[in-house]
Symmetry: C2
Subunit: 602 residues, 2 copies
């Protein structure tokens, strides 16, 4: 029995009774739909004991259930043991979604409670609609955890920094003007911005309140004349105050947003992205004035990088690539000689980045996955569960950094010793697809749906698929995952299919994942550039930002066409050229070999 959790649930049920709530729901989210959440927002973990990154706890008088996805079924089952919480395996046959489950369990006149700031407008409305059919109400105004969780950490609150225009490439004034125009065009007067990276981009500032994402907890409210910025007092520095004054940014306290929206004298509708705004604020706006739903115009504008951003990224990527090259060199030299584990390897790489000029943070926790661990796309080695590396098989390392001047993301699968022929075959097919997409030339108007097959076809030809997209957008000193562009062959309803624009930055990361055996992924980052324009239209191409060798020890040219070999050799020649200045003599020598041209077999 897990008395700690059972006790916490008992206290929660007490509070529910007092609040007149029959079921209480705790998702894993901050108030901004961020990809990672800080300790303060981990109420779901506090009440369930489940530590995974995705899950929703539902507590009733006589039941408690936790919904999580396939990545966490095993871990959740272990962590929920003795808590009395039922595990609901999402997307398994016969497992209801939360709105349907609640609809079935709850009775007319009952009330569902949740903290409306932790639920997106979209999800909140879905629940509201479903439960209203049965006469079930919703109470979204209270965070019941607040009264029970005594040792709850403070909300993260780190200093806001200002990006000078030589780093941002575009002034806040220009950005504001463009956004205001788009809001007007959409039929709205105001914009409520809850998505943190969009707001950082718009105001040319950065924070450090979300793990690996250089963003500050904040909201923005844009009118046609003013810009209100809601942030925690302690995060506001003198530098920011001065900058705010110069730019007409009116600072208000973070916790005052609801009150502000309650009292504002609206003269029109508020533009509000239902996916990325929380339910509590949506309700205020709904009661006070109307809203216009749509994608934040900032999302698209942020995705198209300007030339300042791109030239800084190029430099950052060369240095970051050099750090990864140093890591591979070290790994190959030391494997079998000193003890290296998945964790110590990751730490070695992280330290190399930390010593790189301009480093600020990792852009996500480094994935270091050996052998069969790599078959799990989101594997995380821990102190308790990790492997020791041996001079055989392959190590998959997916990592990246936040730098002054760019956010990086790169994956290499590294040969540590003997590898089977089948691994080589799969490794080679992945490289062929990755390079085929890299060298694509395509007409303006294409989306990721048109292009995905260029990376995937070599694998499909052999009856192999990877169960994820080929590429995602990447921020500039911001989130490592950003939209709206995606390279994938299928889109769910909640995904957007955006036209690929010059200046967008995307990842290119096909892979092969063989359960219980191994995983291969090779990931480069590409920037979209204009190519020739003629009577047939504007052609686009990709330029590569990432310059790290693709392990030739796992390349089998028997699966390659001459054009594939040429692509690989062309890429490797660039790798050497772009990174050698950052390497030691020894590393350079090794790299010369690692990037020497491959010869076609005859």
């Amino acid at each position: 029995m897990n008395a700690v959790i059972q006790n916490r649930l008992a206290l929660l049920r007490e509070e529910m009774k007092q609040a007149g709530v029959d079921y209480y729901m705790i998702p894993t989210a901050d108030y901004h739909n961020s990809e990672y959440v800080d300790e303060y927002f981990k109420a779901r973990e506090y009440f369930s004991g489940f530590t995974g990154s995705n899950g929703t706890l539902v507590v009733g008088k006589d039941m408690a259930g936790l919904w999580t996805d396939g990545r966490y079924f095993i871990q959740a089952a272990r962590e929920l043991e003795g808590t009395g919480i039922t595990l609901f395996r999402m997307q398994e046959e016969g497992v209801p979604e939360i709105p349907d489950f609640l609809y079935g369990q709850m009775e007319k006149g009952q009330t569902l409670g949740f903290d409306g700031r932790t639920v997106s407008c979209k999800e909140g409305r879905k629940l509201e609609k479903k439960l209203a059919e049965k006469g079930i109400g919703i109470a979204y105004g209270e965070d019941l955890a607040e009264k029970i969780w005594k040792e709850r950490p403070e909300k993260p609150c780190r200093s806001i920094t200002v990006l000078p225009e030589e780093v941002s490439g575009k002034s806040t004034a220009e950005k504001l003007e463009e956004v205001r125009r788009k809001i007007k065009e959409a039929g709205a007067e105001y914009l409520l911005l809850s998505k943190l990276d969009d707001l950082m981009w718009l105001l040319n500032i950065r924070g450090n309140d979300v793990e690996c994402n250089p963003v500050a907890l904040s909201y923005g409210f844009l009118t046609q004349e003013e810009i209100y910025f809601f942030a925690q007092k302690a995060a506001v520095t003198e530098e920011f105050e001065k900058y705010a004054q110069e730019n007409g940014i009116i600072w208000k306290d973070y916790d005052g947003i609801e009150d502000f929206l309650e009292r504002y004298d609206y003269q029109g509708k508020v533009f509000l992205d239902e996916r990325n705004s929380n339910y509590a604020l949506f309700k205020v706006i709904g009661q006070r004035t109307g809203h216009v739903d749509g994608d934040n115009p900032t999302e698209w504008m942020k995705a198209v990088k300007n030339e300042t951003e791109l030239s800084r990224m190029e430099e950052v990527y060369r240095k970051d690539s050099a750090a990864v090259i140093k890591f591979i060199y070290w790994l190959k030299k030391n494997i079998g000689k000193t003890e290296i584990t998945e964790l110590s390897a990751a730490k070695y790489l992280d330290d190399l980045r930390r010593n790189t000029e301009g480093f600020l943070d990792l852009s996500f926790p480094t994935i270091s996955a050996y052998k069969d661990s790599a078959a799990m796309m989101h594997y995380e080695a821990t102190e308790e569960h990790h492997k020791t590396l041996a001079p055989e098989g392959m190590l998959l390392v997916d990592s990246g950094g936040q730098y002054m001047g760019g956010t990086t993301d790169v994956t290499r699968t590294i040969v540590l010793g003997a590898v089977e022929d089948e691994m080589k075959k799969h490794f080679t097919l992945v490289a062929i697809g990755m390079l085929q997409l890299t060298e694509a030339k395509f007409l303006y108007g294409c989306t990721g749906r048109n292009l995905d097959i260029l990376a995937r076809q070599p694998l499909w030809s052999h009856g192999i698929d990877y169960k994820c997209g080929t590429g995602h957008g990447i921020g500039y000193m911001l989130n490592v995952h950003e939209g709206p562009q995606n390279i994938r062959w299928r889109f769910t309803d909640s995904m957007k299919e955006a036209v690929i624009e010059p200046g967008m930055v995307v990842s290119n990361e096909p892979g092969v994942y063989i359960e219980d055996r191994y995983g291969i992924r090779t990931e480069n980052i590409l920037v979209v550039r204009k190519d020739q324009k003629n009577g047939d239209g504007q052609f686009l191409r990709f330029d590569t930002l990432t310059f790290v060798p693709i392990d030739k020890e796992a390349i089998d040219t028997a699966y390659m066409q001459p054009a594939d070999v040429e692509r690989l050799n062309r890429y490797h020649a660039q790798v050497y050229e772009k990174t050698q200045e950052y390497l030691t003599e020894e590393e350079r020598e090794w790299l010369a070999g690692a990037t020497a041209p491959v010869q076609m077999q005859h």
Copy 2:
């Protein structure tokens, strides 16, 4: 001055006055949105003198205008000379669409007239909505041409034939049951079927009332118990009567459909495809009961061919391919020796098809386009305007037949003599793309948007595009163009993007079109088949139906990878194997050379 046309327009304006109509619109359409229209339906041509296949005439008291598309700008300008009719070049900048034009010209209280049977429900509603904003009415009940056009031909009316189940592969009873279920699922009780090929498919019958389309002028009205079939009396044969009786098909007169729909005792809504049902019938149903809009379920069912259809098609395609091979052989042997024109070449090929077992009709008028004529995708050689062939350059021939057992469509571009290196380059890139798409293996769930780039990429790599889709669906003894599947990289709003299903038949026809110089297109027809199924999903592949050599005289292996050469050689080996039994000794010998393996240059 064109007194004939001006006189006709004067008479029309008289009738408009009598009918209380201020503007009158005449599109180019029968009552069923068919791709081709019979002479009876060419009122637009009668009143304007413009003979193109697409155009809409709008006549007011003091103006007349003709809207047509880019294919016909030159021809229309010539044919409209002296008629007083203004040419509106569709999609050119500043040229209004018809609803906007009428909105601008007409005044409150005025009336627009048209024959509601010749306008689709979708277009009619669009006009209605736009004009209602300004208080303009619509009168759709009269065909004013009827009173003026004395020498108007009779409606086409040819005998209906019945397809035995060994040809259709699926009984009408089975089809009806499935369609009834789908109609119910869509929330309707009845189905109004106006699309002729859908109706022919459903009832396992064929007609001959639309050029190249083996369909009978008819409507269907399906209830959950009955099927009413509205056709012209003279088209109804004894054979059909017997068949109708056996299958519970209730025959009614073609012209009685409106009256029937007026009087029917509805117990629910009518399913009606707004794109393919005419406005007049839609209005009746709208006044009597509601309708449910959607794609005809028959469209999708018809597109997925059954095994009987597929095995008959395979045989038909082999014979049809042999006819094209005979043609190419004859052309190559005789060019420069006897006079051959675009027209006489087409006639020779048409005659070869006519002499092929099972031949019923052409599936579309043969396109025979020499040199720069081929740069126009829809070129039509006429008695007045056609070229004489010489032993140089290339002839593009796009043709097909209707046979007992299948509809064919094939394009080859044939070398007649010396061709420039650039032509060879383009010809080779087209062949590479065509064969790359042919040999694609892909997961179930793909649409034509995912696959298109496999055919297009070799051209895009060289900065060349073709301004059309790569492939369309093809009927079984029905229309040569059918939906819902399409292989293209972009879809307009009016196009559907359907998942590619096993049993679907699609064309694969990339091309290069260089204005004023030449055109290249290579078109094979493919059938979608299941390939392996594993943990990653159901893989699909294409099997080829068309077996005609790709002219090696225009192949330049310098642009090919070994895999491209292997694909070409594999295809050519099949061509010989599948067609040789239908050829003479001489033709066989020639074919052996034309399909002998190509060697890679070193």
